[in-house]
């Protein structure tokens, strides 16, 4: 039998983090964070369906400083997952598979996610 201690690939301890690998695991991480956020989305709908009092208590939690920080984080995760998801779909279609294209599109995804997050929040606060 092969020993259980033999190194398995990818051996994370000796791998230098690269744009492609870090963004790959980030896609997974943001997906998990967004799954948690989906509970808040349903909570919002339940509150809106229930009563003005329930909705007010929901709005109080979401409108608090911590609530707004969480929402901001979720917005970034959503925008990143959306941008990187489109990148994944392009890969599935056979595009952007050259090393430089894979790296560059990743950098663009992060940049686009940051811009979309900030623009969304500026627009939301301007609309209030």
């Amino acid at each position: 039998m092969a020993s259980a201690e033999r190194p398995l690939s990818p051996h994370l301890q000796v791998y230098r983090p690269q744009w492609t690998s870090v963004l790959s695991i980030s896609h997974r991480a943001t997906g998990i964070v967004l799954s948690i956020g989906s509970v808040v989305l349903v909570w919002w709908l339940v509150a809106a369906a229930a009563s003005p009092e329930y909705y007010a208590s929901f709005a109080g939690v979401v409108g608090s400083v911590i609530g707004q920080l969480c929402l901001f984080g979720w917005t970034f995760c959503l925008m990143y997952h959306l941008m990187n998801g489109i990148r994944h779909l392009v890969w599935d279609a056979g595009g952007w598979l050259e090393l430089e294209q894979a790296r560059k599109s990743g950098v663009h995804c992060v940049g686009a996610a940051v811009v979309l997050t900030v623009v969304s929040w500026v627009a939301a606060y301007a609309a209030m």
Binding site: R28, G31, S35, S38, V46, A48, H88
Partner: protein
């Protein structure tokens, strides 16, 4: 260029009829979620901080309610497909894995129904 026969390369890889269903479902829901997410984000920005009745009027209008239900179904389907892969990759103890999968799938189904029912209730003015 392989010299192996077509049968030789395909044998042992499972049925081609349903083996890629998970992969395809994840991509189809991903594509559907692109326009739905854009709509939802713009809608939320436009109604940020809106009072109770105004928010209900937006959610409950026929087109918004339909899109919201599409978003909920697409989102939870996509989420449970993704979480399933995460669980299968990182949890190797068979019992824990099955328990986690059942929990994730059950929770996604429950939350999806709860969300859809809430939107329907708002749409019908309940």
């Amino acid at each position: 260029m392989s010299l192996r026969s077509a049968l030789g390369t395909a044998r042992g890889l499972g049925s081609a009829k349903s083996g890629t269903h998970h992969w395809i479902a994840q991509r189809i829901t991903a594509i559907a979620l692109i326009p739905l997410t854009v709509w939802f984000t713009i809608g939320l920005i436009a109604h940020a901080g809106a009072p109770y009745e105004e928010m209900r009027a937006w959610i409950g209008s026929p087109v918004s309610a339909t899109l919201m239900i599409c978003l909920i179904i697409g989102m939870f389907h996509h989420a449970q497909l993704g979480l399933q892969v995460v669980i299968e990759d990182y949890i190797h103890a068979e019992r824990c894995k099955i328990a986690a999968l059942l929990l994730i799938k059950g929770a996604a189904f429950f939350l999806g129904v709860l969300g859809v029912l809430s939107v329907v209730r708002i749409a019908f003015g309940g």
